[in-house]
Symmetry: C2
Subunit: 351 residues, 2 copies
Amino acid sequence: MYVCMMIIESERSRLRDLLSMLREGKGEGGEEKEGKYVSGEYISRALDISREAVWKYISMLRRRYGYRIDAKPRVGYMLVHRPDKLYPWEIMLELGRFDMVKEIIYYEEVESTQDVALRLAEQGRDSILVVAERQSRGRGRASRRWISPDGGVWFSLIIKPRISVRDVTLFSLATALAVCNTINGKFNFAARIKWPNDVIINYKKVAGILIDMSIEHDAINYAVVGIGVNANVSIDSIERMIGYADKSHYYGSTSLMHELGKAVDRVRLLASLLRELEHIYSRLAYKDEMLAAIRATIMLGPVRVIEGEGNDALTIEGVAIDVDDDGSLLVKSDGMIKKVTSGYVHVRYVG
Amino acid sequence: MYVCMMIIESERSRLRDLLSMLREGKGEGGEEKEGKYVSGEYISRALDISREAVWKYISMLRRRYGYRIDAKPRVGYMLVHRPDKLYPWEIMLELGRFDMVKEIIYYEEVESTQDVALRLAEQGRDSILVVAERQSRGRGRASRRWISPDGGVWFSLIIKPRISVRDVTLFSLATALAVCNTINGKFNFAARIKWPNDVIINYKKVAGILIDMSIEHDAINYAVVGIGVNANVSIDSIERMIGYADKSHYYGSTSLMHELGKAVDRVRLLASLLRELEHIYSRLAYKDEMLAAIRATIMLGPVRVIEGEGNDALTIEGVAIDVDDDGSLLVKSDGMIKKVTSGYVHVRYVG
């Protein structure tokens, strides 16, 4: 029931390179060619393909993907209009080098990007972005529906976050913060987090987050971060699609287009959001990384813990086994684990 | 009883600029002048001072501060040797632009850099580095002595760490980690942290940390971070100075010079250590900064918390008042504060 756009990798990168030339097109000599004609011969030489192949890709962009490209004999090609689509080559062009996404899977329509990503994650795949123009069975939290018509930014990202299990809720809030920061920064809104997973403008839902995680032995195997942003969605279409049962949990929706009175560039929005996610996730991991560095550097082994001074001093013999998250020394003594906090304590390593 | 080196600010920066020219001295045309003669006329023009003033500063460096500078008539000056001293201009030259230190107070000898820094911190002063060649009453943890003869790196730094009170022990360990990272990175040692405040090479103490903090209403006003590194200290002199009483807490000391078989550049060591501290402290603050950003973005106010689904659902009316450090929502209901963790919970904001 869903249309998966299968495009061979070489074709994708050709389209990306061709569009890169048409969009930002530095011609010979480096002068700006934006909104200007780029010659077929120049494209042919730069991409090392025949003039016929150039024409084939131009036709493909026009007919299959909805680009408007003007062709002037003996002058060249000019990009007139690009469609409001989340095509993978457009995302790649916008992101540039970006380690968090190694592969993009694109659908015109899919049941749920989250389910596709989850299946791939279960197979051990990583750093994959699954994106769709529409979802026919978009999921929200607690198995609720997430209405996902054309015009939204619906995606799921497979990542391996370097955080501890105890920070799972914080991870979800950090994701919501990244969405807020991105839309506030780009459009000067005052979006807020509706705990734990929605983003609100003027008390109306503009984005939602769904995170599925695989946790084993207190370690996070992978997380699939699903984000839906009502970007250029018509609010009527959402209201129409919400059934009576769902409305009990419903606050009213809005979209960026609705609030701004004009459509946003969805490709740029998605790229900015991905960059903000990378930034925030890496910062979230710093403290855990530092604790890991401290644990690798701390001396463990037999200790004598002396609490107090002089005649009142209390001595415990034990073995320092670890450092707690707050920095306390964990000492095993008589089968119990004692948490030694600094203060009037002296720890003597023995032997 | 202590000798404070009072140097007027303009003199300090003149010495720094002059030494900068002698040390790295880019001459006219930008060619390297290291180990080469720099002409008096060039110095005079570059520093906008008279030839007599140049000579005065050269003499000062030689006679008062122990620099060996060769002067060749009609050629210029060449830096032959700089003394193993922690002169503030040397530290400034090595650090370059560095926000954590706005002022350096230097002593040939002082009772305790920590006490000097504490007095300044109590007056509201910030970002001051107090450094000494010797301490006559150096302090360790729990009022113990810290033997501080010539050749060590003894300093105290006033900072206002952006961390929460709950991270105080971690702050101390992070400081120890910075010391370990610096000496391991520079000299390829495997220094380790002896919890909570010493740094050990081969089970012998090479550095110690003493942190005094002023805490009011759960906020940190300031911290004075005192660090002592046995850099070029002769171990004999330490052993001789330790009395019988102190030896009960004594593991044996070592110095970098003793372990390496040669003296280290103390100015460079100090500068590297300060840079590592800045790096680690800023990372320690990231998570708290993120929590602050989440708190600023989260919606608070009246909520209805629904636990479970359908007929078994339990509903609590309350007011969302904050987010806990782990990301839970704190809801006040019937005078109690309930911690709402995500899972099978639905939070409905009311009104």
